[in-house]
Homo-oligomer: 129 residues x 2
Amino acid sequence: MNQLLTKSMTVSDLASASRVNASAVRFYDKHGLIAGERTSGNQRRFSEEDACRIKVIRVAQRVGLSVSEISELLIDLPSKPSSAEWAVVGAKLRAAAQERIDQLNHALDDLTGPVQLCDVSNSVDSPEA
Amino acid sequence: MNQLLTKSMTVSDLASASRVNASAVRFYDKHGLIAGERTSGNQRRFSEEDACRIKVIRVAQRVGLSVSEISELLIDLPSKPSSAEWAVVGAKLRAAAQERIDQLNHALDDLTGPVQLCDVSNSVDSPEA
DNA sequence: CTAAAACTTGAACAAAGGTTGAAGTCAAGT
DNA sequence: ACTTGACTTCAACCTTTGTTCAAGTTTTAG
């Protein structure tokens, strides 16, 4: 069996591999964003899949998604996802990012566009009458 | 004198004009993001300029800037800014937005690009030996 | 002038996304 | 088997960006 696919990493293994704090790993686990298993002694164990999920989580956060939105993004992702299944997640993230970008550009256009919404200076009534 | 340029709006005037809560206006004032004056009785008074500042603040927040970053964005803006001075702020905001967008696209490319960083499935060692 | 409405400050609370610490349990080396 | 380091949960705390509330002051309309 592929060692990378077995749930053999501890919380701190995954944390250092993903360069996040162990407490963040527990936080993501508590919110169901990663797919850890438990040993008979109740300790968490993770695989590379969970490292990938954390990569997705970090990007999704930069896109501006909340934990519950990321949860919805990942809810359809099964254990041991195929390439195609990861690609679906990637596409959804790209779409979400593009939506944010479009909103942002729209807001910027409102601010600095043809109408000059923020220009209030010396033009509304005649200067010094 | 142009009525729009005098500091004659109260906190709630500005709040309703900007469609934010009065507490948000006080918050922005406390952090120096808007340029209110005080009456002899210590009450705040604002002009249209402050409504413009609040527009900038809201867009900047969507770009992802924190209050202290927005503070730096606005620190060079004088009282009664000219068109050109507003345009500088607009340009800085656009640049900040573009930077975020570029970072985001870079992160997305890392995630879903040619290398398929999140594809770990069935390909690292031979399937079932 | 007075009463009501709106203003002032400060402190407490909220939600998100964690971090830190305490007390106790598990796992790994010898 | 025992020790030590890493793990567990839970609760308290942190930062950001506000909101809400209480007690007291200012403004404004009559």
